[in-house]
Symmetry: C2
Subunit: 229 residues, 2 copies
Amino acid sequence: MTHALPLLQVALDNHSLSDAYRTTRLIAPEVDIIEVGTILCVAEGVRAVRDLKALYPEKIVLADAKIADAGQILARMCFEAHADWITVICCADINTAKGALAVAKEYGGDVQIELTGFWTWEQAAAWRDAGIRQVVYHRSRDAQAAGAAWSDADINAVRRLADMGFNVTVTGGLALEDLPLFQGIPVHVFIAGRSIRDAADPVAAARQFKRTIQQLWGQEGTCCTAQSR
Amino acid sequence: MTHALPLLQVALDNHSLSDAYRTTRLIAPEVDIIEVGTILCVAEGVRAVRDLKALYPEKIVLADAKIADAGQILARMCFEAHADWITVICCADINTAKGALAVAKEYGGDVQIELTGFWTWEQAAAWRDAGIRQVVYHRSRDAQAAGAAWSDADINAVRRLADMGFNVTVTGGLALEDLPLFQGIPVHVFIAGRSIRDAADPVAAARQFKRTIQQLWGQEGTCCTAQSR
């Protein structure tokens, strides 16, 4: 194996912690990263981060707070609740990202820039210059609902971000059958939300994601032939 | 009086509801709009909105959730907690703003686009086309901390947004002495946060804001001479 496999992240976009637990009690052992989704953050506040990390201390817990301003204050709030990673929204002032990153370093955590909606390559260069190492390429949920599918433009943007040196997380209504679109790109994390949470058998759905990732990224060039069946 | 006076909004960027109450119990009667700031939203979740509206039902309660995606879901969550107005972040896909606005109309509420960080005039035109009536011109807290002051560019942008037909809220480390910068522009709302919350006498600070607004906008052309002393 010449490179790390993409990690699997489950997005908890539940409306309450108790509802989220119905998912995590089943699939927490199957995933690498537990995301406290923005919906759950708004529903329950930062205690959602604190309680999920307390339940699953061995997992990376990501607070998808989509911080837009007050980067240091909100970052500290999340890291004090034991988040491992937090998100800053792409339109935030560069000083917001810098402030969040400075606090992350105090706690040994990290910051992801959430590429939801409108952003530019000039901003991407500025994030790199500021020391940001992670971005989340996010096909908007509302754009999806309006009919936008994964496009060549999406795939090319993910490749370009990886080429810039970012660890790229890919998300946005990601289904199992979308994974081959990204083959050959060193994707850092794939996020599955509804495709795991709403599956008839969430454990089987999570394991199938891991298996497909192994098939596509496990050994370059041998994918999709005879392995791990 | 030829036009409505700008309203006064207090931003509650506290880290807990109990801390916010120390401000609201004093100054709620003095302000028009109570803002559940993003920091308080993250700290306490949507119950901050529910509890503040329950305490102050006669006030406009604004949930500064800075919605970036899942516009309908997050809007419904806020309006079910009895928010009057909610915010959508400027970089959100236009369908996020449209979704939030559709839900707002169900509840008789409204949506503000939060102009924090990076946005374009093309987006502003798209918001108008989508039926958005309110924007929040926001000097970034982190940009402020990095030394950016209110500039001619800020003032001109506020004027241009008002000319486009938006009801414009102005915020971002706004001090009493900044208000005259906006004289002659039909500003809809001024937000004061730390300049009221952290004042030695918050009631006196809020009243001074209202008095200065009356002086500057109360009667066009007669401002700053002999009235309301």
